[in-house]
Subunit: 511 residues, 2 copies
Amino acid sequence: MNGAESLLQSLIDAGVEVCFANPGTSEMQMVAAIDKLPGMRPILGLFEGVVTGAADGYGRMADKPAATLLHLGSGFTNGMANLHNAKRALSPIVNIVGDHATFHLPLDAPLTSDVPGLAALASDWVRVCESPQSMAKDGAEAVCAALEGRQASLIVPANHAWSEGGNTAKPLPNPRPKQVATPDIAAAAEALLNGETTCLFLGGKALREHGLLLASRIAAVTGARLISEVFPARIQRGRGRPAIERLPYLGEVASEFLKNFTHMVTVGAKPPVSFFAYPNKPSTLWAEGCIVCPLAPQSCDEILALEALAAYLDAPKVTDSEESVLPKIMEGPMSAETVNAVIANLLPKNAIVSDESITSGISSYGYYNGSAPHDWLTLTGGAIGQGLPVAVGAAVACPERKVINLQADGSAMYTNQALWTMVRENLDVCVVIFNNSSYAILNVELARVGVKNPGERAKSMLDLSNPGLSWTRIAEGLGMKGTRATTTEAFKTQFEKAMATKGPRLIEVVL
Amino acid sequence: MNGAESLLQSLIDAGVEVCFANPGTSEMQMVAAIDKLPGMRPILGLFEGVVTGAADGYGRMADKPAATLLHLGSGFTNGMANLHNAKRALSPIVNIVGDHATFHLPLDAPLTSDVPGLAALASDWVRVCESPQSMAKDGAEAVCAALEGRQASLIVPANHAWSEGGNTAKPLPNPRPKQVATPDIAAAAEALLNGETTCLFLGGKALREHGLLLASRIAAVTGARLISEVFPARIQRGRGRPAIERLPYLGEVASEFLKNFTHMVTVGAKPPVSFFAYPNKPSTLWAEGCIVCPLAPQSCDEILALEALAAYLDAPKVTDSEESVLPKIMEGPMSAETVNAVIANLLPKNAIVSDESITSGISSYGYYNGSAPHDWLTLTGGAIGQGLPVAVGAAVACPERKVINLQADGSAMYTNQALWTMVRENLDVCVVIFNNSSYAILNVELARVGVKNPGERAKSMLDLSNPGLSWTRIAEGLGMKGTRATTTEAFKTQFEKAMATKGPRLIEVVL
């Protein structure tokens, strides 16, 4: 077998089932291998940001990696924004990046770039295949690295892919979760028991149902408040699950929110810092003098840490948790809030929400605490253009679950090509586009830097209304059915219909 | 003035008039400065690949830089594919890339990445502003670097942009073109005069009208054939200008084309190498034993080199050049060729053609030798998604000239957002989309790696027909008028109308 076949078989043997792909000439051997060997489902994205974002969504929901197939440095850079988000989400991903043949590289052909250099800026684990003989082992180790929460990029020179000499490699054993040291558990317990105002600041797998149940047991015996990071990779929410406060997005609001806490124990999250810096505002968000106690940094297992802490504290099971209430479906003019209230009420059980609604969602986040149990995925790294592709990947990982994408219009433009893949793969995704004809968040930010009355030139860089975007038309162009809603009632009817039928669908909310 | 205002004024003073922009929070000070100070036209792109590709097109046509305004590392990576193309085109560009405040960077906030590291992989000149005081000078030097054909990236930490202390800087004198050394001229002349089969292999500014006239004088006295690189940044073609052969794209065809040349003098182009490597095929395209004589490498001025060579050879002016003929407008079923024949006949004088038609254009390239004089811009770096944005930039640089974008469908998807900017700025661009529902070039390449009967999985990675893309609908969604043509006659009517009226328009050629 040639190197490409050897690598592909190794990925399949290690449990990789899906390859999100946008190949070019230098990856044709990988395409031929996928064609020849059974076991890998290729899914085409019409832009690499779709491919990498889909792999992120898949990784968050499947807890195992999909592969991506990317074309040289330029294909890789097109996918880097969503690889950035995926890295922040600690999503398992194995990028397979083609490169020129080793003898071709020094000639500096037009598409030549420093692929290993690029990969090193995006991924935690980077390797260039050295021969067809190495590729099976390279593939197995890449999967292992991905399962450890490190984004893996394997660079495949074309000549190694096409040359004979490939062999097979046994999949490596799954990496073992790392335990937190006992003294750290004791220190965290002490911080929470000190009788002052304390919180558990949670991220990563601490936000899965089991982690939240453990956290709420700890909260019950210590009085700690439970707070989630602003943009978690995946949080399990809804009726019957412990509701948890979310740290506010804007730095000064977050500082205010955190100002009374004397002790903060972080689990699976970094101590909170402001998304951006501003003049004369602090970048770290905890109060001066607050003792921050990182219990499970991102290299340790959050669930093991919470289990150990709950055991140390002898925290009993919590039987009665307060039931969250659903928002009323509101009458009157449509707004992002009225639409979110409808969705919160109608959310099907086990739905997956890919949330990139930015200003159209932030104030309605709490509405969903009372919804049917669901998973919620957010913009971990802040690189916009994530919501649609992550919905693709989540739907591929969980074909039996309804995926709802709450999507800002400006951000959707970056990876609008994802709609096409939803149709091609007949994914059960309902895209709700909040069309407010603006980079609304930037209008807020412009005011925050002191521009009170922006002129035409400033407004022209933040406004999307000239010409207006028609998302139903864009969707139609990409093969997807779409409807427009200009009233809450119309939205409700359209959304009900979308929930009652399977398959891709778009609803444009005209704000 | 603050740092942002100081930098902006410096760019304006150095002659930068246009800023293609996709700003975020960390660039709000630059937005405020553009709003406040007169002299910079901001043009919004709804994705950074549009922004950088537009700057490339602008640079190619204006021979001076536009600025780009990009949001942190993720914004920069979204623009890197077209920055790669721009670098290969030696287009003058000044990227202004925001970064976190210097005190915020070590906190590793969600959007943090290694912006200088990324910029170093894309650009030839990279600087991080060190203080508000340095920014005017930084801007002046960035413009100077860009005018030397080096892509400049200036990274602006937010706190330097918002802090007071900015000053002004005198624009630097324009860089002086570098002369080729006299012995090299003599060596080139000797190579061409040796009486064997010789060629001048031309790229860069050697392909402007003046360069081609000089080259044809040299050809007349030496018998050298004139050959252009496969993907020139800008070639001036059409009636009354010397027609020049184009090196074929496919390596083995190019090798065959070049096999009889004993001497090759390159001017403004690297010695030709294959775009990709293939098993058992040479990567360098000149014949074994051919003496390659690089006259003006890309750091020297091509026109000065050709002038010196023509003078050395005492080459007289060429008065009669053979007139190229236009292709007949063909009857019968529509094809890429019949469409190109129509366009070649109807091309307005001084049109600019942004050509990313890939398989739909390659065989018709010669049709345009007999068209009205025009400029032709191609996919210099091979990173697809260039054609639409380059058309944007060319139209901004040359508002009095008609821009025609010959565009492959698969490539258009990468930067479809460019259509919106064409409408917003009311640019005089006619986009001709060749919709063949396929990555057609990749079907060729798959066959070339030996896959004779691709199966479903391989085909699914190359085919765009399920669902089919409707470019008129996509255009409509982005605010642009579009029509579909399914016969050559219908195309001709639509194209005639587009040429007779100003403003953005799309014609979808359904192949």
